[in-house]
Symmetry: C2
Subunit: 246 residues, 2 copies
């Protein structure tokens, strides 16, 4: 059923498992969707696969859910990280939503020299990622780290993970060319702040063997556009868009 | 000067040309940016290239602008159309903004069988495209057609322009594979409504030699995500992101 609400839950899922919905989910099911006991739902929790389920019981501000049949076993999702400098709130919200749809496994907000913001509102971002995961039929919700210093992140970086840095200065090689020639393995995309990286940050990146500058064409892209564009190119050329999905 | 406001104008641009700003531009320059006569600006009009200019005079709710020196000659921009089914207003706004940043030359909103909306608010969309063009340093503003019937559009389509149709059914070949093997020439991307195309519309597309279905991976993308993703892949693989920009 395409129209059954698809919900991310914390509970373990198995045949006949029963558990409480969150108050927000209960409100959504009862008051927004106007569903009652017996209505079909779809459930996932990031590790037990996707399950058909139903509303077992609804009460005032609460609902009990039940998983019944496995629809899809849990499958590996792309090992793709996104490192992004904090930008204005509406852009961060869009980045989290679109990165979830585009299959990012971990989001790492960073604070660079030219970053103004320092707070991420982690709970809000988590809610956005959950909603996007429910909607796009992912089997997982990406992990979102607290904001950290960009310099510190580079210092602790595991060098087997290639870091593709989106370069606004025009010094990067075209993204399709870089990705087509890239070795397989874990990867991360990096998008800087609206004002660009500081020279010292670019120099630091250039000294790292795991970091590669890539270019996104002749126009100046807003940070959130660069994120979506780069993720799409990655999935199309190196990621899980290379197989037909049916 | 990176910080000089960049304005799209209707007037012809040449050394010493002088003309009135629109009331909105006058308000922006005087009241938002707090600039006065003599302040530097950057100007483009879609056909005379990009010009350095200045504010010649400001008055109450008006401003006179002057172009002084050519910064960049007009250059051909990609011949890339975007056909998109009308979706909800916030998504349409995002589509217009991002398509402008990503180098689309013409936007063609269409009404399909499962499209609920029928009005585009052309003036609002034009304003969004102008602002995005100013910001992303394009030399032109994309043309935005009034909404039209999808069936009619297909009937009058010039068959030399390949129409890449984003396919949510999983029947399309992976986008990178399709684009890597595509012949050069004029192209258009097509994104359907949230509910997908009707069967009769998909059948009609399949009968057209100029239309090719392409897939955007295993997750379900919102319409606006599909637009940005497909445009990025096109520019990266077939378009003007293939050369380093410097």
């Amino acid at each position: 059923m395409k129209d059954a609400p698809r919900l991310y839950v914390e509970a373990s899922l198995s045949g006949g498992a029963q558990f409480d919905a969150t108050p927000e989910q209960a409100h959504y099911l009862s008051n927004v969707m106007r569903l009652t006991a017996g209505s079909e739902i779809t459930l996932f929790n990031g590790h037990d696969g996707e399950w058909r389920g139903e509303i077992a019981e609804t009460g005032k501000k609460r609902a009990t859910l039940r998983s019944t049949d496995l629809l899809r076993p849990q499958a590996a999702e792309p090992d793709l990280w996104l490192v992004f400098a904090l930008v204005k709130r509406s852009a961060v919200d869009l980045i989290v939503e679109k990165a979830t749809e585009l299959g990012v496994s971990k989001l790492l907000p960073v604070i660079t020299e030219r970053t103004n913001a320092s707070r991420t509102g982690e709970e809000r971002l988590r809610a956005i990622a959950v909603e996007a995961a429910e909607q796009c039929e992912r089997l997982s919700v990406p992990e979102i780290l607290p904001a950290q210093s960009f310099n510190k992140l580079l210092t602790s970086w595991e060098p087997t993970r290639i870091l593709y840095s989106m370069d606004e200065t025009g010094a990067g090689r075209p993204i399709a060319e870089v990705l087509a020639g890239a070795a397989p393995g874990p990867a991360a995309l990096l998008i800087g702040p609206e004002g660009g990286f500081a020279k010292s940050e670019l120099d630091a990146l250039d000294r790292l063997a795991f970091a590669t500058r890539v270019g996104l064409g002749p126009r100046v892209l807003r940070a959130e556009t660069a994120v979506i564009a780069a993720l799409a190119c990655f999935q199309a050329i190196r990621g899980d868009w290379r197989q037909s999905s049916s």
